[in-house]
C-alpha cells in the first residue's frame, strides 16, 4: 500500500467516548476525550490504572473487543476517520501505519517462530516486499535498535533473548514498515530500571531518526517527562489536563495533577519534615462516578453545589500553548500556595543493633539430572559475603535489580532457606542455619514480611479477618477465639481499614487495601523486623504514598526495623536511613542515605541513579546508559561482577577488574564501596542529580 502524503496532525481524537457493554449495564470507559498528535511529536498519556488510557489506545487501533464500542466522537488518522473504515482498510493501516508496542514483550512475540521470520513478515505482508529485501530491512532495523550480533538475533527464538532484548525486537518489529504513529502502552514496566533507561533512550532516538509520532502511555510521570513533548493527564475516563510538558509540570492547572505531583517522592521530600501527601479516598468505579467533576469527592478545592452540578468541559488556559484544564475553579486557585505542612514528625531514635549479618553466603547447587542426581552440578552464587547491621527503628533499604540476590537474602533471613556460610545474629542468637520449622514461635513472629504483589498476597478464598486470625493463632496470641477476634479488629484499626472489612473476601478490596491487610498480618505477632519486598511498586501512585506513610507510622510506633527492598531510588531516598546497593549477589555499596546519594559512588549506583526517571523539570541528570543486560547468576563474569557494564573500567590499571573481586573499602564512617577505582578517581565523580538553580 502506498502511504499517502498528509501534513495535518497525524492523529486527531475529537470528543471520543468509549463504552463497554456488559450484561448488567453500559460501563463508560472513556468520556469526551480529545487529543491531537502532530507529526514527529510525542504525546504522553498519564493516569492511574483504570483511568482509561489503554482503552484510548485500543480505540485508536479499533480493537475494542466484542463488547467495547465507540459511542461518540471520532478518531481521525491523517484526516481519515478510523471508525468509518472497513475491516480491510483497517488491516492495511494496522502494523503498517500505526504500530503498537505492549507491556509484556514475551506475549507480543510468537514463541514458535524465529525472530527474523517474524520481522520479515511485516514488510512482506504490507508492502509485498520480496524475501531478500525483507531480510535486509530486518537486519538493518535490528542494527538500529542496537542489538549485538544482528545476524544471530534474526536466527534465534524469542525465549533465547532476555526481556530487554525482546522489547527491542518488539520495537524493531513496530518500526519495520516505518509507521507514522507508534503507540507505546507501558513499554518498559516489565523491565529493570537500567534496562528501562536504555530502552527509553532508544525510543527517543528512533523517534527522531524516523520522524515517528508517538502516543506514550505510562503511569510514571518521570518517564513521560523524559520522552514526551506534550502530555495529557487522565482521571476516571476523562482527560483532566493537557498541555506541553513544561506547562503541565511547572504551571499545573488542575487539582488532580497537583495532588499527583504531591504524592510522588521527589528529591527534597523527606519522611519526617516533608511527608508525602496522599490523595484521600478511592478511585471511583466506572459505574459509580459522581455527578459533575469526577475528582470532586477527593479534591481539596471542592465546592458543593458548583463542582457537583453539571458535567465540566475542558477550558483553555490563556497565554499557554494548547494548555487545557477540566476544572471550574482553576482561575481562582492559588497554584503557588505552599503545601500546608500536615504534621511534621519527630525523627525516631535509632536504637541498638537487633540484626547482624556477617559474611553471609548462599549458594545453590543446580543438578543437571533431577531423577538420578549426579551428573554435572552447577553452583549458583546467589549471595556472596553479605555483611551489615540493622538497628531498632531503622529503615535499611536494599536496592538492586532482578537477579541481584535480594529475594534470596530475604528467604535466608526468614528461614525458608538455610545459609551456606556466614552468620545471621538476631539478639545474640545465631539463626542462619535454623530452618523455619525449627524456629520458635517468637523468632518467627519477630521477623515477618510484606509482599510485593497486592493481588497475590492474600488467599483469595478466605475472608480478610480469618487470615489475620490465623496468623494470631500461629503466633499464639490471645487465649480464646474472642480475644483473637478483638485483636484482629485492633490490627485493622492500626492499618486504618474499617472493621467491617473483616468479613470481606480479598477480591472485594482494592490493591492498596489488600496491601494494608498484608501489613496488618505481618504485624500480628508484633514483628520487630519487617522485610518489605517492594511493598508499593505494584500500586498506583496516589495509593503508594498512603501505604508508605502507613508503614512509616507503624514503624515509628513499634520501633520496628524495616528492611525495605526496592528498585525505586526515589522512594528509597524518601524513607530510608541507610541504603545497601546489591548487584549479582554482592553488596557493592553500603552507607547512610546521604552518603549513597552523593559522590563518590560505586559505578553501579551512579548508573542506577541516572536511570531512575524523576518527575521534576528542575532536575538535571547526568546521562549514563548501561550497555547490555545483567549477567546471569549461573554464569557470572570473572573478577568484579559489574565489570561487563562498567564505564569506569578503563580507569583501573592492569585489567584488575577482570581478575579479582574488589575488596570492600571503607570511605567515611559507615560508608563502604566494593570497587577497584583509586581514591582520586572516586573523588572526581560528579553528582548525578543536580537541582538546577531557580
Amino acid at each position: 500500500m502506498t502511504k499517502t502524503e498528509y501534513d495535518g496532525p497525524i492523529l486527531e481524537i475529537d470528543q471520543l467516548s468509549i463504552s463497554f457493554f456488559t450484561r448488567l449495564r453500559e460501563i463508560p470507559a472513556v468520556m469526551d476525550f480529545s487529543v491531537a498528535v502532530q507529526p514527529g511529536e510525542a504525546v504522553g498519556l498519564v493516569g492511574e490504572s483504570g483511568c482509561g488510557k489503554s482503552t484510548v489506545a485500543l480505540g485508536v487501533m479499533q480493537d475494542l473487543g466484542k463488547n467495547g464500542r465507540i459511542v461518540g466522537g471520532s478518531i481521525k488518522f491523517k484526516g481519515r476517520d478510523l471508525g468509518q473504515m472497513s475491516m480491510e482498510e483497517l488491516r492495511d493501516i494496522r502494523g503498517s501505519e500505526i504500530a503498537m508496542i505492549y507491556q509484556e514483550p514475551m506475549a507480543s512475540l510468537n514463541p514458535a517462530m524465529k525472530i527474523g521470520k517474524q520481522l520479515m513478515e511485516v514488510p512482506m505482508i504490507h508492502q509485498g516486499m520480496d524475501e531478500k529485501a525483507a531480510y535486509d530491512r530486518a537486519l538493518q532495523v535490528v542494527t538500529d535498535v542496537k542489538l549485538p550480533d544482528p545476524k544471530r538475533m534474526l536466527d534465534s527464538y524469542p525465549h533465547q533473548l532476555s526481556g530487554g532484548q525482546q522489547q527491542r525486537i518488539v520495537i524493531a518489529m513496530a518500526l519495520m514498515s516505518e509507521p507514522a504513529l507508534l503507540i507505546l502502552d507501558e513499554p518498559t514496566t516489565a523491565l529493570d530500571v537500567t534496562v528501562e533507561a536504555a530502552v527509553v533512550e532508544l525510543v527517543k532516538e528512533l523517534g527522531k531518526k524516523y520522524g515517528t509520532s508517538m502516543l506514550f502511555i505510562s503511569h510514571n510521570l518521570g518517564l513521560v517527562l523524559e520522552t514526551c513533548d506534550r502530555l495529557c493527564v487522565m482521571y476516571s475516563g476523562e482527560a483532566v489536563e493537557t498541555g506541553s510538558i513544561a506547562d503541565v509540570f511547572d504551571k499545573m492547572q488542575h487539582p488532580y495533577t497537583q495532588a499527583l505531583f504531591r504524592s510522588i517522592p521527589l528529591p527534597g521530600a523527606d519522611k519526617n519534615t516533608h511527608p508525602l501527601k496522599a490523595i484521600p479516598g478511592n478511585f471511583p468505579l466506572p459505574h459509580e462516578r459522581p455527578q459533575g467533576c469526577n475528582f470532586g469527592p477527593r479534591c481539596d478545592y471542592f465546592e458543593a453545589g458548583r463542582c457537583d452540578a453539571d458535567a465540566i468541559q475542558m477550558e483553555p488556559i490563556e497565554g499557554d500553548d494548547r494548555h487545557w484544564s477540566r476544572c471550574l475553579k482553576f482561575r481562582e486557585i492559588d497554584w503557588d500556595a505552599p503545601i500546608d505542612v500536615i504534621d511534621q514528625k519527630a525523627k525516631a531514635e535509632i536504637g541498638d543493633v537487633v540484626l547482624k549479618m556477617d559474611n553471609l553466603k548462599k549458594y545453590y547447587e543446580v543438578a543437571a539430572n533431577a531423577l538420578f542426581g549426579g551428573g554435572n552440578t552447577k553452583v549458583v552464587k546467589a549471595n556472596e559475603t553479605l555483611s551489615f547491621e540493622a538497628r531498632e527503628s531503622e529503615t535499611l533499604a536494599i536496592v538492586g535489580e532482578s537477579g541481584c540476590g535480594k529475594s534470596t537474602f530475604a528467604k535466608v533471613l526468614m528461614g525458608l532457606e538455610t545459609a551456606t556460610d556466614g552468620q545471621i545474629i538476631l539478639d545474640n542468637r545465631n539463626i542462619e542455619s535454623t530452618a523455619i520449622e525449627s524456629r520458635d514461635t517468637e523468632t518467627v513472629s519477630d521477623i515477618q514480611m510484606v509482599f510485593q504483589n497486592p493481588f497475590d498476597t492474600l488467599n483469595p478464598s478466605m475472608t480478610v479477618g480469618r487470615q489475620i486470625i490465623r496468623a494470631l493463632e500461629i503466633f499464639g496470641v490471645g487465649a480464646s477465639e474472642a480475644e483473637r477476634k478483638e485483636r484482629m479488629l485492633k490490627l485493622l484499626d492500626l492499618v486504618k481499614l474499617p472493621r467491617a472489612f473483616a468479613d470481606r473476601m480479598p477480591r472485594q478490596l482494592s490493591g492498596g487495601q489488600k496491601q494494608r491487610v498484608g501489613i496488618a498480618r505481618a504485624f500480628a505477632g508484633d514483628a520487630r523486623i519487617v522485610v518489605a519486598d517492594e511493598p508499593v511498586s505494584a500500586l498506583d501512585v496516589s495509593v503508594q504514598a498512603a501505604v508508605t506513610d502507613l508503614l512509616m507510622e507503624i514503624q515509628r510506633e513499634h520501633k520496628t526495623t524495616l528492611l525495605f527492598i526496592s528498585h525505586d531510588l526515589s522512594i528509597v531516598r524518601y524513607l530510608s536511613d541507610r541504603v545497601m546497593v546489591m548487584y549479582l549477589g554482592h553488596v557493592v555499596e553500603l552507607g547512610s542515605t546521604e552518603q549513597v546519594f552523593a559522590p563518590p559512588y560505586h559505578p553501579y549506583t551512579e548508573a542506577l541513579l541516572s536511570a531512575v526517571p524523576i518527575a521534576d523539570t528542575s532536575i538535571e541528570k547526568q546521562h549514563i546508559v548501561l550497555e547490555g543486560d545483567i549477567p546471569s547468576a549461573m554464569n557470572p563474569p570473572p573478577g568484579c561482577p559489574f565489570q561487563t557494564r562498567c564505564r569506569w573500567k578503563s580507569e583501573v590499571p592492569g585489567g584488575l577488574c577482570e581478575k579479582e573481586v574488589p575488596p570492600v573499602r571503607q570511605m567515611e564512617a559507615g560508608h563502604q564501596v566494593k570497587c577497584h577505582l583509586a581514591d582520586d578517581i572516586l573523588a572526581r565523580m560528579e553528582p548525578v542529580i543536580k537541582v538546577a538553580a531557580e
Partner: protein, 480 residues
C-alpha cells in the same frame, strides 16, 4: 386392547413438529451459506446508549432460526405437558410424562428456588446465568431424581425383574397380557428378551449409575488430591516417583485390568478387597490431615473433633472393606455396618483406580502453579505446616478447575460403568443397570431395537448433561 401409539390423541401436533424440523434444518443450511457470503451486520450506537443492528440477511436468518428452535421446544413441551394430564390418552410419550410427574415437580421446585436465590448461591447460583449450564444441570438432575424416586418404586410401572409371559420382545406400547386390576396395562417401552418391562428397567438401572459414578469419582478425587498435593508442593524425587507410578497405571490397558480384577481366581485371592483397603483409606487420611492442620493450635477443640471423625470414619472404613467369610475379615459380623456386594466393590475399586492418576496429575499441576503465589510464601514465613499450606492455602484456590473436572469425570465414570456392565463385569447379569441392558439388547439388535436403544439414549443424555454442566460451570467460573 389396542397397542398405544407414540402420541395418542396429541397426534395432531405431529405434522407441525415434522414441518418445524425441516424448516429449522433448512435455516441452518441457509445460515451456513449466509455466514460465508453475506456482508457483516453493522452495529450502531444510539444516543440513549442502546445498540441497534441494521437488518441484513444474516441477522434475518439468525432470528428466524431462533424462533424456529423456540417453536420446536414449545411443541415438545406441549407433548410433555399434555401427556401429564391426558396420561394414556396421549400415547406412550404422554404416559411416560405422567409417570415422571414427581420428577417434573422436583425439577420445577429446584429451578424456581435456585433462580430466585441465585445471587446468594456462589458458583452454583452463577450456573443459572448460562443457558448451556442450565440445560446440563436439568438433564443431570432429571436422572438424579429419576434414580431417587425409582428407588422408592415411584416411577416404575412394573417390577424390573418380573417376566410376564407373552411380552417377550414386544414393541413399545404393547398392552400387557393378562393384566390384573391394579397392574399398569401397558409395557410402555416394550419388553426385552426375557419379557421384562424396558421402561421400568431403565428407571431402576438409573439409581446404580447416579449413585456409584459420583461416589467413585469423589473417592478418586480424594486419592488424587492426597497424593497430588505433596507431589506438586515438594517436587523432587517424591514427585518423580509418584508421577511415574501414575503414568504406569495410565499406560495399563483399562479393560484388561477390569477383566483381571473380576476373574474369579483373582477375586478369590482377595486382591480387589486389598486394593479397596488401600484406596478407601485415603479419604480418612485426607480428612484427618485437613482438620489437624487447621486446628492443631487449639488442642482442646482439635482432639475431640479428631476422635469423633476418626472413630466414625474408621468404623465405616472397616465395614466397607471387611466382609464375613472373605479374605479381609477384620471386624466381627455384628459390628459390620453394611456389606457391600462383591461385584459393586470391584466396580467401585476399578473406577477409582483408573481415575485417580488423572486427578493426581491435574492436582499436581495446579499445585505447582499456585505454590509460587505470595500468600503461600506468607504462610511459609509465619511457620505454617506443609499440610496446612497444601490443604487450606492451595487446594481451595484450585477448586475452579477441579469442580469442572469433577463433573466431566462423573461422565467418564458413567461411561466406564456402562462399559463394565456391557462386558458383564462386576454386577450380576440380571441387574437392570444400563451397561448390562445394552449388552443384552445388542444380541437381537437387528430385529428388536428398543431394549438396547432405551438405556443407550439414557446414558447418552446423562453424560451429555454432565458435559454441558461442566461447560457451563467453566464458562461461569471464568467470568467475574
Amino acid at each position: 386392547m389396542e397397542p398405544l401409539t407414540w402420541t395418542g390423541s396429541l397426534d395432531f401436533l405431529n405434522p407441525i413438529f415434522i414441518a418445524l424440523i425441516f424448516i429449522c434444518a433448512a435455516l441452518v443450511a441457509a445460515y451456513m451459506v449466509a455466514s460465508v457470503f453475506a456482508p457483516e451486520a453493522q452495529t450502531t450506537v444510539n444516543p440513549d446508549g442502546t445498540l441497534s443492528v441494521s437488518p441484513s440477511l444474516l441477522t434475518l436468518v439468525t432470528s428466524a432460526l431462533k424462533y424456529g428452535f423456540l417453536a420446536i421446544i414449545t411443541v415438545l413441551l406441549a407433548y410433555l405437558i399434555g401427556g401429564m394430564f391426558l396420561g394414556l390418552n396421549a400415547g406412550i410419550i404422554g404416559a411416560m410424562s405422567q409417570q415422571f410427574v414427581p420428577v417434573w415437580i422436583s425439577l420445577v421446585v429446584l429451578f424456581v428456588l435456585s433462580i430466585t436465590y441465585k445471587r446468594r448461591l456462589g458458583l452454583y447460583g452463577k450456573l443459572f446465568d448460562s443457558t448451556v449450564g442450565m440445560i446440563g444441570f436439568a438433564l443431570v438432575m432429571f436422572w438424579v431424581f429419576t434414580g431417587l424416586f425409582g428407588a422408592f418404586d415411584m416411577i416404575v410401572t412394573h417390577d424390573a425383574l418380573t417376566q410376564v409371559s407373552g411380552m417377550k420382545n414386544k414393541v413399545p406400547g404393547t398392552p400387557m397380557r393378562g393384566a390384573d386390576e391394579g397392574d399398569f396395562p401397558y409395557y410402555l417401552l416394550g419388553g426385552d428378551n426375557l419379557a421384562r418391562d424396558v421402561f421400568s428397567r431403565m428407571v431402576k438401572g438409573c439409581l446404580i449409575v447416579v449413585l456409584i459414578a459420583p461416589l467413585a469419582t469423589l473417592f478418586a478425587f480424594m486419592v488424587g488430591i492426597t497424593l497430588g498435593l505433596p507431589a506438586g508442593y515438594y517436587g523432587g524425587r517424591l514427585d518423580t516417583i509418584l508421577s511415574f507410578t501414575a503414568n504406569l497405571i495410565l499406560a495399563f490397558p483399562v479393560i484388561l485390568l477390569f477383566y483381571l480384577l473380576v476373574t474369579p481366581e483373582i477375586r478369590a485371592t482377595g486382591l480387589p478387597q486389598y486394593m479397596a483397603s488401600i484406596l478407601f483409606i485415603f479419604p480418612l487420611v485426607f480428612l484427618t490431615v485437613l482438620l489437624n492442620s487447621r486446628f492443631y493450635t487449639q488442642p482442646g477443640f482439635r482432639t475431640p473433633l479428631l476422635i469423633a471423625v476418626l472413630g466414625m470414619g474408621g468404623w465405616i472404613y472397616l465395614s466397607l472393606i471387611s466382609e464375613v467369610g472373605s479374605k479381609v475379615h477384620v471386624i466381627p459380623g455384628f459390628a459390620d455396618l453394611f456389606d457391600l456386594d462383591g461385584g459393586i466393590l470391584t466396580v467401585f475399586v476399578s473406577v477409582v483406580f483408573v481415575n485417580s492418576p488423572t486427578v493426581f496429575r491435574i492436582v499436581r499441576g495446579l499445585t505447582m502453579d499456585i505454590k509460587t503465589r505470595d500468600y503461600v510464601a506468607a504462610a511459609q514465613t509465619r511457620g505454617e505446616g506443609a499440610w496446612y499450606i497444601m490443604l487450606w492455602e492451595i487446594l481451595p484456590n484450585a477448586r475452579g478447575p477441579l469442580i469442572v473436572d469433577f463433573c466431566l469425570r462423573i461422565g467418564y465414570a458413567t461411561i466406564l460403568l456402562g462399559t463394565l456392565g456391557f462386558f458383564g463385569l462386576g454386577l450380576e447379569p440380571e441387574s437392570p443397570n444400563w451397561g448390562n441392558t445394552i449388552n443384552e439388547g445388542r444380541k437381537l439388535l437387528s430385529i428388536y431395537l428398543h431394549p438396547a436403544i432405551v438405556p443407550a439414549l439414557s446414558l447418552l443424555s446423562l453424560v451429555l448433561g454432565l458435559n454441558l454442566l461442566a461447560d457451563g460451570l467453566r464458562e461461569e467460573s471464568l467470568k467475574d
